[in-house]
Amino acid sequence: MENTIIKLKNINVSFDGEQILKNLNLDIEDKEFLTLLGPSGCGKTTTLRIIAGFLKPDSGDVVFGGKTINGVPAHKRQVNTIFQRYALFTHLNVFENVAFGLRIRKRPEKEIVKSVREMLELVNLKGFESRDVNSLSGGQQQRVAIARALVVKPKVLLLDEPLGALDLKLRKDMQNELKNIQQRMGITFIYVTHDQEEALSMSDKIVVMDSGVIQQIGTPIDIYNEPVNAFVADFIGESNIVDGIMREDYVCEFSGHTFKCLDKGFRKNEAVDVVVRPEDVDVVSYEQGMLRGRVTSVTFKGVHFEIIVDIGGFKWMIQSTDEQFVGDNIGLYIEPDAIHIMKKSEYSGLYGDFSSYSEEFDELSDVNAEPEEVQDE
């Protein structure tokens, strides 16, 4: 492709005998906001470090603007990185932190002052020039890191979970700001995160990774609506994933009922995974339901109620604005376009049942869900 700025070809990386990246291939287009999304240990940060030049792959090529740059050291690459923990120079003030890259390039003082000023204005830190970076808040430090990387005019900016250490409100603001900056600067952003919501709201293209393998590449809408397998369906948003059988094109059967759907191209009677998003299920009376079950738990979430329904032993999650009560028997109605059919994969059967579901459990098993950020000040 003509517009491709970075191409990763057959990248393999192992640490201590464990394969981190398995034959990874990825094309990154110029000026796009691309997100590498996946649970920790999926290889997303490793991919980023390979592009930055901090890590050499065991095999494979990194191509930048048509040239293979395998042997080019980090300091000679036209990419810059925003580190997870900012990595500011604590012995320098805000101005000198941002000016660092320009001083290395031996730019004239006048130009340095002008560029640094512009960058600090871009990240809303005007007037902070002579402040000590240690005296800044997390969000401000992050802005300094962004200005410091952008001032040297990289073609590609790499961001390694840059908002991970910020609180929720600030994170939302920074998401918008980063997106704005990316569009205004007109450069490529490669963003690493484990937060699916962040990925969905910012990206032009999402690359979902797990255990060193790219699972799916697509726009946020594609990824959400058309996940390729149970892993992607489960990782992006909430999903009910049930075993089903494709009777013929546009007709599938699951949970003892035959449904119309919009999917085709499967073998007759092929076993498949069926995804139904909780918000796409309508609650109807028991008699009218295509599926019928008993409510086992109801949680008020503000925007909606989260209702767990036991249907033949499989627990479904439903999001509805109408309150239901535990013990009620209700019916469920599912439109054809709410059903998404996936081929069976290695992830089949691992996800999508809410029988052991509890929020706390979810967080406990998520190694990335850090306890409240400890500010060392």
């Binding site: 300091h75 990185t81 580190f83 990595a87 120079f89 604590t90 012995h91 660092f100 002052v113």
Partner: protein
């Protein structure tokens, strides 16, 4: 950090406070008292003005301590840097080796240098017999009783105090900060001069303090390796208090100590200015 209650704080710091009061504050008070009084106990500036006679000794002491400190720094920094780059297990071993000489008594170590440097010492004896094999007549170097020998003794004894604080700050530099510098285009030289060196300044300062202060006030090293030929200010002070070579005079001795203390404080003040100056370019002209 949770703040301790005032009561707990006072209780916890009491032993140290008492110790400092009895063994530091009171003695300094006594030094002040003796320095500003005569034998009969009445106020005088006589002691302080008599010190002018020792100005050359002060200069020499500062000079030798300065040279020793610079040498320590030059030896210690590269070593501390390479230790900090080793694997964790190696680092422990190396730090242990650095501290090893400190397990031996200071005096014994300095005596050992006497027997090494003497005219009939290890080095000269070896050189003489070695060269005589080839028919050369060698008179031997005179190494002991020189300023060089004193500096050697200082460097040898105080080197670990320079290595350890520098090593400590170097290990604390965040790896991602170095990556950030690399990322912004810095090569090895720039990373060192613009990131590692400035970030290790606090270690350098405390290393210099820990070497310079004992070096400038030492009397035992100059006594043993200077052989009574070179007197440093520490030797003079010792003489006034113990009367080894002349009369005992606490008042002049105390005045000498007081002036030395002031000189050290001034030196440290100058040093700390470098530490406080985070950005020599002064940042943005706002």
């Amino acid at each position: 950090m949770n703040k301790l209650s005032a009561k707990t704080r006072i209780t916890l710091t009491a032993p140290f406070t008492v110790w400092m009061a009895v063994f530091v504050v009171v003695p300094i008070g006594l030094v002040l008292f003796y320095a500003l009084t005569d034998a009969s106990g009445s106020f005088t500036l006589q002691n302080l003005s008599s010190i002018w006679a020792y100005r050359k000794t002060y200069v020499l002491s500062l000079e030798l301590a300065f040279v020793a400190t610079v040498l320590c720094l030059l030896l210690a920094y590269p070593l501390a840097y390479s230790i900090s780059k080793m694997k964790a297990r190696r680092q422990q071993t190396m730090v242990l080796l650095v501290m090893l000489p400190m397990w031996m008594n200071f005096l014994i170590r300095t005596y050992a240098w006497m027997t090494i440097l003497e005219d009939t010492g290890l080095i000269n004896t070896f050189l003489k017999s070695f060269l005589s094999l080839f028919g050369f007549q060698f008179q031997g170097f005179s190494m002991i009783n020189t300023n060089g020998a004193i500096i050697l003794g200082m460097v040898y004894n105080f080197l670990p105090y320079m290595i350890l604080p520098i090593y400590t700050v170097l290990t604390k530099i965040d790896g991602s900060v170095i990556e950030a510098a690399k990322d912004l285009g810095a090569d090895g030289f720039n990373i060192f001069t613009r990131v590692i060196l400035p970030q290790s300044v606090p270690g350098i300062i405390s290393g210099i303090t820990m070497v310079f202060v004992p070096a400038v006030s030492t009397f035992i090293i100059s006594k043993l390796l200077g052989g009574g030929m070179t007197f440093l200010i520490g030797d003079i002070i010792e003489n006034y208090f113990l009367g080894n070579t002349g009369e005992v005079n606490y008042n002049v001795g105390a005045a000498l100590s007081l002036v030395l203390m002031v000189l050290i404080l001034i030196s440290m003040g100058i040093m700390n200015r470098f530490d406080g100056e985070k950005d020599p370019k002064g940042g943005a002209p706002v």
